[in-house]
Structures are given as C-alpha cells and as structure tokens.
Amino acid sequence: MADSAALYRTVRLIRRFEERAVELVRSGAIFGGVHPYTGQEAIAAGTCAALRADDVITSTHRGHGHVLAKGADPARMMAELAGRATGLNQGRGGSMHAADFGVGILGANAIVGAAAPIATGAAWAARRAGSDRVSLTYFGDGAVSQGVVLETFNLAALWRAPVVFVCENNGFATTTRVADAVAGSITGRAEAFGIPAVRVDGMDAELVLAAADEAVARARRGDGPTLLECVTYRFDAHHTWEHTARPRYRSAEEVSLGRVRDPLDIQGARVPSGVRAEIDAEIEDLLDSAVRFALDSPHPDPATALDHLYADGTRVRAGVA
C-alpha cells in the first residue's frame, strides 16, 4: 500500500531542490551547471520507495532525484553541487558524481550507460555474500543503444542477478528523439535476453512504485532482473547550459504540452490539502537550511586536490618538479 503523503514529499523535495539548484547555477554559486531532473521526480520517488535502506542504486548525469530519493542529506547534496568540503563527495564529485555509500548510493555517473554493469556487479556480489540486497540502476532512453547496457542485460539474465533496470524514457537523448535513435523498442531489448520488461507511466509515482515493488520482489527472491521503462518528459533543459545557448530541438508548445501531466500535481491530488501544505512548508525550511549550509561551508583546500586518488594514499608526483 503506497504511502501517498510520503511519495508526495519525495516528489516535492526533488522538485524544489532542482529549482533551488537551477537558481544557484544562475547566481554562479554552482560551478559548471546541472542536468535538471524536473518532470521525472515520480520515477525516483516510486522506485526508491520500493527499496530497503541497504539496497543500492547507481545513477546518471541527471541524478539529483535518485540521490535524494534514496536518502542522501539534501544539505550535503547541495554542498556537493556547490563544490564545498562538506559535500557528499567533499566537493570532488559535483552534480554528475554525487555518491553516498552510507545510504546505498554507489554514485551518479557521467558516462551514458556506464553504471548498468556496476549495479549488476554489486548485485552479483550481494548474492555471493549471502545477502538478499537488490541493486537498482537508472539510465535514460539514450543509453539503450550503448553496447555496455546490452552486454549487461545478457550477464544479468544469465546469472539471474538481483538487479532492476530502470530506463527513464524522457523522449530525448540531449536533442535526439527516441524515434530517431532507437530501433525496435526499449522493452524489446530486455525481452530479447529473456528479461521481463514493463512499460510504466513515469509521471505517476504510485504506478511506478507498484511496478518497482514487483520487480524488486522478483530480484530479491532470486528470480532475476526486470526492466522498467518509465515514460516521462523532461520539463527543463538537458543541461542548464541550454538556458543561454537555446538549441532548437523542441518547440515551446511541445514543452508546455509535455508539462501538462505533472508528477507533482498527480501525486499532490492524492494528499489532503492540509497535509500537503505542511509538507510544502517543511520542505521549504529544509531547503532554506540546505542552501545556507552549502553556501556557508568552506571551499576545499587546493593543496588537497589529489587526496583520495588512491585508496592507500599513494602520493604521486606533482605537475612540476
């Protein structure tokens, strides 16, 4: 049974976090920009609600939503985006590499499709360790034609690995439409390897949760991987760079049509207005303090730029002698 208010809270948290992050990109407080998750929040909220705290995820370049839904601290996440020493990755990773192993986030990843095998390896290792922990990996529609993703489908199916593949089909790989990039279908790719595949309305957190519950249960009982193709729409830019560069690949009319079904409204309608108002207020407070925490935090010391390059602390030669 879905906890509608909890799902709404996650969707709302991600939406407002993204809006605050975009403001901080505009003000210059976030270096390098971000890939906003706006419009896709129901997927992160629904899938992570199906996971246990000890389950693990891998994420993408558009990963803030996954990281927040899996339970990372929004303040430390915001500090990471702002490149501060208090960030999840101590300012070393930024938007595209946010990770928090303490809550099962094995990292966002800046290379399309590259995390699918990583999640599958984690799933294999969990089973080997005698754990019923499940891995869940996110990727976009752009990733489904990457060889590494298809190779991973093969391994995961062969091994009946406890992994859930979540494809967030937001219609575009940067500017390229799915119809121009994907032969056959996304679900058909998984089915070719004998992996059950389901197409889900990715705008509805409760439908996503129901599908994810089934997929996670299947993985946990040892019956192998599932692919969920969550159909959604990216409300904002591929990357905040688009706010100034404005490449033309979809019309304003198309974007407004795409925004009509809003995961925030869909989930919000299931929550009594009083509860909704309380959640909204709580999140504003939470994000106010997250932004404050981020911007008040120290920048990392340049002398530590090579810290963590090697696990054993091996020091390397500097760029000058």
Binding site: I30, G83, G91, G93, V316
Partner: protein, 326 residues
C-alpha cells in the same frame, strides 16, 4: 580583415571541405542541432544524409566511420566530450589505425575525430575533463592540438584531407580565442610543422594547445629579464623535431607545458628526445598535470591540477639561470 573565432574556424573548415569534397560527412551526437556549434548550419546546407545524428553508441559509430572510410567516404566524427574517446579507443587505436599496415597498404582510413572543448571546461568534474592527446600520440594515431583560430582551420582541413585517421583536440581553453584574419589566406597546415609564436634567445618554451597563450603571457611578463621563445608543435604526432632542434640550437634551454598527466605524457617524450639528441645547456623542465590526475569538481581543486601561470613562470626562471649540466 575579419575577426575569426576558434569555434567559427572549425565550422568554416568543415563547411569548406564539405563544399569542396562530397565524400566528407559528419557523424556525431546532436550534430544536427549543433549543440557544440561546430556543426552549425551543416545539416541545413548539406542535408541529413551527410550530417548524421547518431544514437549514443560511440563504439558502433566510430567503427561505422572506419567502414565508410574504407569505402570511399571521409567521415568526421564529433565527440562531445573527451572521455568518449575512451569508449571508442579500440575502434580507433586497434581498428582504424591498424588497417593500413595490416592490409599491406590496401586500405586507407581517412577519418577525422574532432573533440571540441577538450580538457577541463570548468566544473564538469572527473569524467568530462581529461585531455588524452598523449595517449593517441603514444599509439601512433596522428594527433593535432591547434591553439589559434588560423591553426584550427588549417589543421582541421588537413586532417579531413589526410588519408589516415587523425584526432583533432580543440582545447576548451582555446575555444574562445579570436583572431583578426584575412579569410582568403586561410590555408591547410601540414602535420608535423611547428610554429614559433614569439622568437627568443634564452629559453624555448614548448606549449601544447591552449597553453600556448599561457606561455605567451608569461613570456611577455618576463621580457625585460629573459628572452623566451614560444614554440607550438601544433601536432604531437607527427612532431616537428627539426623545428624544436633548431630552436634549442638558439636557446639551449627548454621548458615544456603540457595539460597531460605527467607520467607517459607528451612532455616526457619531448624532454627525452631533447636530452638524447638536442643542444641543451641546462636540465629541462616540464609543467604538466600531476601523475595520473583525476580532476576534482570544485573550482579551486580543478585549477590546482592544471599547469598554472605561476608554475610556468617559476620553471622558466629556474631553467634560465641554471648553470648547465653538472
């Protein structure tokens, strides 16, 4: 005269070559929408049969370009980020590059691999900030790293006309450069010919790509005390060893600035060759990224691992006053 930006120079070179040679075609991600702007206007002008948006399938479309090149086309591939070269490396280093020798000279593989905004582009972190040009020089793929709009034009035209695979790195740190040029005089630049941007008598500074501009800034600052010659090799493989030897015959002192990781980077090769074969009055120095560097995200950390103005200045001063080999 016309102001030509580096970005526009790349676009112009590609447009001119597509106009001149109908076998030149463009493969890449988002090349129709031209998100990097290098391919702006090309789909409209030449059609989507010649300017092909690719799915996110770098290994596949890199190999497809090899096959197309073996069959008479001259593809240019645009990789949006330098790390995509790692994904396609097998197809370039082990396939495209080896066909000519392995087929006993039957095959020609005229593919150009272009990386607009290579190196750090400020805040793109560990997986989007590499500068892997030394890796291509190491395996022997022809490698160009133009520093200026004129050279970007000339080297890209040459790459497109070359019968071998050529990788062209357009450093993020050079993409914003502008130059006053006579468009009628833009011309192909042969691979393996360096360029002396500033003549000098005391120290030769070899600078790669965008670091040429850093070298010129420092050379200007030091002009009253040290006469610095700034040598831009323009292509790393083939390398203009004769040009470098001639410069060292004049100065006898060498500093190399290279945005590669230190170990096995091109700066190490330049120092080694100079030490083996050229005239040196003092031990040479290099300024590089650290060994095995991974660029961290935060701005101060990102900067801390790339060659800095201060490091270059200190290296030049120290080589200039070194008393000779002990």
């Amino acid at each position: 005269m016309t102001i030509l930006s580096y970005l526009k120079a790349l676009n112009r070179a590609l447009t001119d070559e597509m106009e001149r040679d109908p076998t030149v075609c463009v493969f890449g991600e988002d090349v129709r929408a031209a998100v990097t702007n290098v391919t702006a206007g090309l789909a409209k002008r030449f059609g989507t049969e010649r300017v092909l948006d690719m799915p996110i399938s770098e290994q596949a479309f890199t190999g497809v370009a090899t096959g197309a090149a073996l069959s008479g086309q001259r593809p240019l591939i645009e990789y949006q980020i330098p790390a995509l070269l790692f994904l396609a490396f097998e197809q370039i280093a082990n396939q495209a590059h080896k066909f000519s020798l392995m087929t006993g000279g039957q095959a020609r593989v005229p593919v150009t691999y272009l990386v607009p905004s290579s190196g750090s582009r400020d805040g793109w972190a560990g997986q989007h900030s590499d500068h892997p040009y030394s890796m291509f020089a190491h395996v022997g793929v022809k490698t160009a790293v133009p520093a200026t709009p004129t050279d970007a034009y000339g080297l890209l035209v040459t790459a497109l006309r070359d019968d071998d695979p050529v990788v062209v790195f357009a450093p993020a740190g050079a993409m914003g450069r502008r130059e006053d040029v006579d468009l009628a005089r833009l011309a192909p630049i042969p691979l393996g010919t360096g360029r002396i941007h500033r003549p000098g008598a005391d120290v030769t500074v070899v600078a790669v790509g965008h670091l040429v501009h850093l070298a010129l800034d420092v050379a200007g600052e030091l002009a009253d005390t040290i006469s610095v010659e700034v040598f831009d090799p323009r292509t790393l493989h083939p390398f203009d060893w004769q040009g470098l030897a001639a410069s060292l015959d004049r100065t006898g002192r060498l500093v190399v600035i290279d945005d590669s990781n230190r170990s096995c980077g091109i700066a190490g090769e330049i120092l080694a060759t100079a030490a083996e074969q050229m005239h040196l009055l003092a031990p040479p120095k290099r300024v590089t990224r650290p060994d095995g560097a991974v660029l961290p995200f935060a701005e101060a950390l990102d900067r801390a691992l790339q060659p800095t103005h201060e490091q270059v200045r200190t290296a030049i001063q120290s080589v200039a006053k070194a008393g000779g080999f002990r």
